[in-house]
Structure formats: C-alpha cells, structure tokens
Symmetry: C2
Subunit: 439 residues, 2 copies
C-alpha cells in the first residue's frame, strides 16, 4: 500500500501516521467493495483505481516535491478559488478532506453539532492531523460563500494558516468589481508563498491547463449522460472522477480523462452500456459530494437506476465554464476574465440565483432524464431554502423530484434507500403509463 | 380590547381578523400572567402595559394614518436598516412579528424545518396574515446578514414587496464604501414611496429623534444593570421595553422611557430593588429575543436570578451607538456618518468580529455581573460558531457561562429551567467559596 512507502514524509508534515493509516485502510476497503466490484467497468478506470491507492501517498509526495522548489500548495474548500493562478505558478491547488464521518466527533468539541458535515469533517481532519492534503497546504484559502464556513475560518486559523476570499452576496456591477480585486489579492498571496513575481504568461498557461481539464470533464459529462439509451460508465465511477479532479495533477488527470473518454466513445459506438435498457436516468442536484461520501450514489445505483450527472460543485458546476483568454494583454484584463468566469458559478449563496433553476430544467431536457434528486447536506441553509424554488419550477414542468437531506452518518442509509426505491417505482410507473397512453 | 375597535382597519389591510384576534388573545394572556403579576413593578410600566394592549390595534391605526398621508411604512427584520431616514420622512419603521411559535407550522410548508425560528415565525405570520405590522408595510426591507434570511427574501417576495440591503461580510475600506452606497439607495427607495424628495434637514431631524431614543435606552440600561446592589426593574420588564422599541412611535417611546428612568433613579436613591440582596446578576448574550419569546427570562428570573442586560440586537447592540452629525453639511457626509454608525454593529455575521468578545468582557466587568448566558436561536450558524470564541475568552477570565440553544417550542422550557438552576447553584457556590476565602 502506498502510504507505507511514504510514512517518513507523512510524519514530517505532521500527519498522525498511525491514525491516518487506519482511516486510509477503511477508505480503500470501501472503495474496493463499492467501486472495483462493479461489472463491466471501462478499462481506463484502472488509472483512477491506482490514483485512489496513492491518494494520500504518492500524490502527497508529488505535492511536497513541488513545495521543496518553493511552488505554492494551496488547500481549498470551494470552487471559487482561482486554481489557474496556483497552477500557473507551478504549484498545486487541491481540495481538503471533508467527506468522512469519523473526524466529526473531534470537530464537535469546537464546532456546533448542527452545521454541515462537510465543514465539521474538514475541521476534524485538521484537529486529528489525518489529512495529508491539509497538512501539505502552505495555507488554506477559505471564502465567505456560507456562514458556517465563514465563521469556522476564524476558529481554523488557530490550527493552520488561513486566508479568506470575500465572495459577495450579489452580482451587481459593484460586487463584481470588488470580486476582481479579490482575485488580484489572491495572486499576490501566491507570489508571497512563491517568493517571486508571477508573469502574465505563466498565469495564461495556468488558465490553458485548467481550461483543458474542464474540457475533458465536459466531454466525460456528455459521453456519460447525453445518450439516452447507453450509459457507458456508472454514475459512481463518474462521480469518483469528479472528486479526484480536485486532487490530481491537472495535466495527467486531463490526459487520463480523455483516454477514458476515447474508450467511452467506442462503447457508445458499440452500444456497450453498464446498465440494462430502460434503467431510469437520474440527475443529482445540490451540495457537494466529497469523497468518500458515496452514500447517495450507492443507494441509487444499488436500486436499479443510473445517475447521469451531478449538478453540484463536485460535478457540473465546477467544469461548466472556461476562462476566455482570447486577446488578453494585461494582468488586469486577465483578472477581469477570471472574475467573469467565476461569477458565472450559480451557487445558492447568491441572491437572486434564478439562473440556476432555468439551467436545471434545460439540463434535464437535454439529457432526457427520468427524474431528479435534490440532495443537500444537513443544515446547508442556502441550498436548502433554494430547493423550494427549484422544486416548484420542476413541478411546473412535470419533472419527478425527490428531496434528500443527509449527513455522513451511516444511520440513514437504509431510510434513503427506501425513499429512493419508492421514487424509482413512481418513475417507472409514470413511464409505463405514458408508454401505454402513446400506444 | 384594542383589536375589537380596529377590526375594519385590520381587515382592510388584509389581516385574517379572526385568527389574529385569537393570537392576540394568547399573547395578552401570556403578558398578563408573566409580566403584570410581578411584584413591585415601577409605576411607569403602566404605559408599556397599555402599549402592549394596543400593540396590534391603536399603534396600527397610527401607522396607517401616516400611510394615508403618503408617509413611508417600512417593515424590518434587522437592526441594519437606517430607521433614521424613514423617521426623517415622517414615516414609521418597525420590526416584523417573528417571536411566536404558532405560525411556524405554516412556514414549514415552504421553508426548511432546520432554519432559525425567528425567520420561520415571521414567514408564517405573512402566510397567515396575522401580523398587522407586516400587513401595514409598504415593503419589507431585508438584508444579507444571515443566509437563511438572504434566501428567504427570495421566497417572501412572492407574498409581499421586498427590498434587500447588501450588508458585507467584512469591514475593510472597500466593503464600507459599498455599504455607504446601500444607505443612499435605501433613501431613494424611501423617496419613491413618499413620492417626494427628502431633504438633508429632514434626515438630520430623523437622526436626532433616533439618537434621543438610543440615549433613553442607554440610560435605562445603566440604571438597570450598573448598580451592583439594586435592581430597580426586572430583566423581563426591561427586555419588554427593548422589544417595544422596534414598534412604538420613537418620540413618545423616548419620553416614556425617560419617565421610567426618572422613577428608577428615585428607586436607586431610595435603595428600592425588585430582587432580594445577593440575587445573582446574569448577562444575556447572543441572538435577538423577539416578543413574545420570553422563555429564557421567565426561566432565569423564575429561578431566583436577575437578568441585567441583553447584549443582543434586541438590546444593547441596537442602542449602543449614536450617529455623529456634528458638522454634517451634505447628504453624502450624512450617508458616511450613518455608515460609520451602522458598521460599528458587532453582529456575528462579520468576519472577523473580535471586537464583540472584548466588549462582552468589558461589559461584564463594568456591571459586576455574576454570570453569562450565551443564548442562540436554533440553527443560527454565525452566533453558534462564534460562541466558541466568546466562551473561550470568558473561560480565560474565569467568567461563568452557560450556553443555551433553543427555539420557540414550549417543549424545552423545563429542560432550560433545570440547566439554569444548576448554573445558578454553581454561581452561588462560587460566590460563597470566594467570600469564605476572603474572610
């Protein structure tokens, strides 16, 4: 196992090596049982299986090798942090561990119980020293997209260097202008860590790299969900790839996703689907699904349906927009373009956020999906309140929708499965009734 | 009863008169039982008792008489809305009903269950048409101070005209500059409703009126809590006056509070206390306590302690700062002064918000209090997370502190009383031990 080889490194960055090894063991066992046992997986998944085995080992060694050359290592918690700049500086920008249940009990010694499990988990990982990514980060770049996070950064600052990016509540001209300044400041922080100035051309190279990554992910999204009769990859595998997009080296990741896409293209040509005909096709909306939080996908795909996309931040919201660098001549122009790209993110933290509802309905139609699951992490006020407006719009369009709010505890897995099964039955019944009516 | 006299008016503004009368009946009965039965109340409380009886009757008639003259009527939900401008225009600025439990079930048909009871209650009052203040409002002025509210405005807009003021996450120079623009825009909204321009001198008059109101409330706060041996008024009565400060006509209210203060001054001179000697003196910190949410005060003062102030928005945070208008020559200067005043509000929505912790410790020392209750409404992430930093600072100073999170349901009243009793016992024990040690 990868971790064994890197014990010394892990220890040197302050990881609690013993506890970490135990957690990794559990994570890998969960992955093997839940993912590697799936029938007829694409061959190109072998790379992602390998990456999982090295997720807190070889990949951590790579990041720390960059750090040794004074390249920045930035831990993030949200898709608002412009990774293009970090990558342009030759560094690594990665998501922090925050999808596991065990660290939550530790976090609850300092945080309230009734905030979102993602925040508590990430905080607990820091208290436990069991996330090698967190331990590798020069600093954590927080933001103000949700108040539980915004206030948690104040506490987290006691345990790790933290910077906070101010993401506005609204997207009026004056808000966007301020946003652009935040991006410029972010670049200055990266220069501080790097102990050198960052050139425009380096930043543009960073943008090209991340644009290419997003293109590959969009390609995967299309191959995965846009052919109504063929699902060439499981939703679980596709989700896992989205999850890894926040951790892997972007260049290698892009190449590997494109290789997978080549194979999926062949599968579609040859009508190779990993699900039987007439499998209900489900879209998932809502909050981020961080690894190893595979509860929803396990419940849905274990109940005879297929998940054809995730609308959330670990998914479509992350890769849907590229940075347009056509004709950019100055740093300020680049910051403006970055701001334009980042302000297209339709997070529920904004008011109003009506574009998201329209987008969801369009995505549903484009994918000829059969139903929608609106998934929110417990106590996520913004996505939770916004669900009322989204489900209202879906109801108007006659789109079947199930709302699930859940945390990381295994306790509601059975209940979720029961609710999903009942939802899928209602979809199948609707399909049959429609087919009968059309005869 | 006042409501009977005004049935026609209430009906004309869309109040569900029958349901409203039932709720008012419950509220008045609760007030009579909980407030008017207290022994040795100041005589000047008679005015506030009268106001309670007319709270949704005569006062509503006054507001609607102003509206008939095209004076603005603005409903608010937060202390960030510059009431000085509304009052300057001759109108009324008032808090919306949001402290009662019964409307919550209605609100939960559109809102998640796990958001703060204040928001759900206010939303439910609107759905039920049982708050005559909400029904009187030309518009509701929301803000972005908490995400559950920020997103709820989007839904509330379906039921009532809503404007939203953007309160920033931080207080850097660029945030404050934007804040000033928000205040200017607010004034423009008020001009729209008034169908006329508002002059600088009118606005300055509004500031003077509200400064005087805040001065009276500061005077009450000092008389109430700064004399360690004499508590001339109960915490419950003082809280009630704070609650009414959001509803009453500011000029009359100021006069009546000052009359009460005269009487309290006499009481202090004559050593008249409503509590026996050595009654533990408790400070309450945290989230707003809207009428008729008297649960905490009932538990504490029913257990042999006295509440000597509320640090929250219905309390000290509301009246602690005045607007300095010395030398103001232009509208823009006035907006800057208003911004300066409003940005002193140490709401937990800001990051960082360290000033609040320092203030609390100082308040405790100034008042020679015996303990602190940190009270948060359920699911209020900002105050809830911030409580960790505050209680940590209190612990360093050796200040006894009890944290209570509660909603509006009567179910936890017994549990809260038990916890309060145990807390008070520990304080009394500490006092005795200290007295013994000092002998």
């Amino acid at each position: 196992m990868g971790v064994e080889l890197h014990k010394e490194l892990l220890s040197s960055i302050g990881v609690d090596v013993e506890r970490h090894a135990k957690m990794m063991g559990m994570g890998l066992a969960g992955y093997q049982a839940g993912f590697m046992s799936q029938p007829n997986r694409p061959k190109a998944m072998a790379y992602f299986d390998w990456f999982m085995s090295e997720i807190q080992a070889e990949r951590i060694a790579e990041i720390n090798a960059l750090k040794a050359q004074k390249k920045p290592a930035v831990g993030t918690f949200c898709i608002f942090v412009p990774e293009e700049i970090v990558v342009g500086a030759g560094g690594a920008c990665f998501g922090l561990c925050g999808g596991a249940n065990p660290p939550i009990a530790d976090a609850e010694t300092e945080l309230p119980r009734n905030i979102c499990p993602l925040i508590k988990s990430a905080y607990g990982f820091k208290l436990q020293h069991t996330c090698a990514y967190t331990q590798s980060a020069d600093f954590i770049y927080g933001e103000t997209t949700c108040e539980a996070k915004k206030k948690t950064w104040e506490l987290l600052g006691k345990h790790h260097p933290v910077h906070v990016m101010n993401i506005p509540h609204m997207k009026r001209e004056r808000d966007l202008k301020m946003w652009q300044e935040e991006i410029k400041e972010f670049k200055e922080h990266i220069e501080e860590v790097s102990e050198r100035k960052l050139s425009l051309s380096e930043m543009l190279d960073g943008v090209k790299l991340i644009n290419a990554k997003r293109d590959a992910m969009k390609r995967l999204d299309t191959l995965r969900g846009m052919h109504p009769d063929i699902m060439p990859i499981s939703g679980k595998d596709a989700l896992f790839i989205s999850q890894m997009s926040f951790l892997d080296d972007p260049k290698r990741f892009t190449q590997k996703v494109n290789e997978l896409c080549d194979e999926l293209g062949e599968r579609i040509k040859n009508k190779v689907s990993v699900f039987p005909e007439n499998t209900p096709r489900i879209m998932v909306l809502g909050t981020p699904i961080a690894p190893p939080n595979w509860k929803l996908h396990t419940a849905v795909e274990g109940s005879g349906a297929c998940i054809i996309n995730e609308e959330g931040c670990i998914g479509h919201r992350y890769f849907k927009d590229n940075v347009d660098i056509e004709g950019v001549q100055s740093e300020d122009e680049l910051y403006a373009r970055l701001m334009q790209r980042y302000s297209k993110i339709d997070c529920a933290c904004f008011t109003p956020n009506t574009g998201r509802t329209d987008k969801i309905v369009q995505m549903y139609k484009d994918r000829r999906a059969d139903g929608v699951i609106y998934y929110t992490l417990s106590f996520c006020h913004t996505y939770n309140v916004e669900s009322h407006l989204v489900t209202e719009a879906l109801a108007k369009e006659g789109i079947p929708c199930l709302v699930i709010e859940s945390d990381y505890s295994p306790e509601d897995a059975g209940q979720i499965k029961t609710r999903v099964e009942a939802f899928l039955e209602s979809i199948t019944f609707k399909q049959k009734a429609e087919a009968f009516a059309n005869k």
